[in-house]
Symmetry: C2
């Protein structure tokens, strides 16, 4: 678990407490627990971690205030993954069989719905402000709009702008919301809230670009997802978009990614074509630029150890292997 190294001691400890809260949160119903326990087990906890780091970045925030919302954020993320796996018909997630593959789409749809509802229950039960519920409902809405827009254009090459709009809706708004929530519940100033939100947004864009790279070039045993999964489902991402601009085999790559039926050989071929261009470097450079912009946005009013942890976390986003 690479990320933990990036953290200050307090957040590392909070993450341990979070695991207990997550287990508790799915224990209302025996079957829900059985389905969700393996799904919840393997996550990176990036969203609650970001939230807790930000919440504790100027002064210590009591765990009674952070835990329920941290749990809600991870439940929303898990719900979206469960529903995503119905969409992708992926067989594996976080290294284990998906709910869709194991129990069928019926159960996967309902378990995802349950987790969404549970997240909103936690927020209501713990008397967070309406602004918190509003931020959560907005991030779910944006996530859906991003995914819908992606699904409507499978096997179609997006423009750079369309790609960025999409990863913003799908990922960056979620991560920036985690930071914003951390800043809000710890009573930061408007400037601090905006700056931490911008930090999260840069992190989110970088995170998704690295995710899209890992889909091609990651080790399936480490990522827990099959290699070339995006291409197979028709999702065309930055490495391909860049390679199409630069490769002398662009026509071949375009035919391959838009045909609508991607074989394992196609994935191997796509990887070779992408590797022969500057696409990997280009994606890394873009991701790094977003990380740099994220770091610049960190408010100087935070305490030194928090700034260090948030900077380290940003670096791990680009260096991660899963």
């Amino acid at each position: 678990m690479n990320f933990v190294a990036a953290l200050n001691e307090a957040t590392a400890k909070n993450l341990q407490i979070l695991e207990e809260h997550l287990r508790q949160s799915i224990s209302d119903d025996k079957f829900i627990h059985e389905v969700c326990e393996p799904l919840i087990r393997g996550g990176k906890r990036l969203r609650p971690m970001l939230f807790m780091l930000c919440a504790n970045s100027r002064k210590d925030c009591p765990t009674e205030l952070t835990m329920p919302l941290a749990t809600a954020l991870e439940l929303i993320h898990t719900a979206s993954l469960v529903h995503d796996d119905i969409i992708d018909t992926s067989k594996k997630r976080r290294g284990v069989e998906t709910a869709n593959s194991k129990y069928g789409a019926q159960i996967a749809v309902l378990v995802g719905d349950y987790l969404f509802a549970k997240a909103f229950q936690l927020v209501a039960e713990n008397n967070y402000s309406h602004e918190v519920t509003l931020i959560l409902s907005n991030l779910v809405k944006n996530l859906c709009i991003g995914e819908i827009s992606q699904d409507k254009s499978l096997f179609v090459v997006p423009t750079m702008t369309e790609y960025y709009t999409n990863i913003n809706l799908k990922t960056a708004i979620f991560l920036s919301s985690c930071c914003k929530l951390g800043a809000i519940i710890s009573d930061m100033t408007e400037r601090e809230i905006n700056n931490l939100t911008a930090y999260g947004s840069g992190l989110g864009l970088a995170f998704q670009i690295v995710d899209d790279l890992l889909d091609f070039f990651g080790d399936a045993n480490v990522t827990g997802k099959p290699q070339g999964g995006d291409l197979k489902s028709g999702v065309i991402t930055l490495p391909v978009i860049r390679a199409l601009e630069k490769s002398n085999r662009a026509d071949e790559l375009r035919e391959l990614v838009t045909r609508g039926n991607v074989t394992p050989e196609d994935i191997d071929n796509a990887i070779k074509i992408i590797r022969a261009t500057d696409a990997v470097d280009y994606c890394r450079t873009r991701a790094q630029a977003h990380i740099d912009s994220a770091r610049i946005n960190l408010p100087d009013t935070l305490n030194t150890s928090a700034i260090l942890a948030l900077e380290k976390l940003a670096d791990f986003i680009v260096d991660r292997t899963r």
Copy 2:
């Protein structure tokens, strides 16, 4: 639209205003609007209607207070139908093609998620109490648990107790929550809140029993759903459970409903076997008993016209044809 006849003038007018709020609520995104508009168009509006009737049953409640929550209730119901149609692989709902059939499971999952999130956004934006969010998240959770438990036992004959547990989770808790919310936002006493909740619960049980009858004996052109749809999907309901207890062709019926592959001829046969027993009368009697219990629970502190409307609504629940 039979239900409108059951209402007092004020609620009938409120229902018209609700239509505008519902249209507004799905207009954030063009594609979401395109998918949801036909889905939202044909509903009975039973849930928001119940909520508004209760909210206005002792004194007039301002529409600014009722409309956002009434809209949220109908959005949650619509979201659950959209997800239900993925599960049932039904082709039609409310007389129009389902989102699942028209756009595929991917879009249907995401559109449902969007509608859930939109409902919680409306609640947060309009400063309802945490209790309101809690009731909404609990009803969604119970709905999911009910549906999951149903899906785990497709083509298995439930006991009477299992059937009742299920329709309580799936339907009665939703309708009783609508009544409870109406009572809460209009500042009723605890006794009034409990009584209106019990009214809604009786209504909900009756509603689902009638629904299960209509699935066999309703006119598909009126219900907007194909006849015998439940049996086809493996959902075994009260008419079958009762017929299995009473019919001299019980073995044949049991084989037919548990085989796992239901043909149109099977549905015709099941209907004949059920009709030859007292099952239809039995179901009607059970539904009527729940309606009677609902009516008895109506608090006598409500104003006369509200009591009349809530009583009429209860009667329509058993008399309805869709």
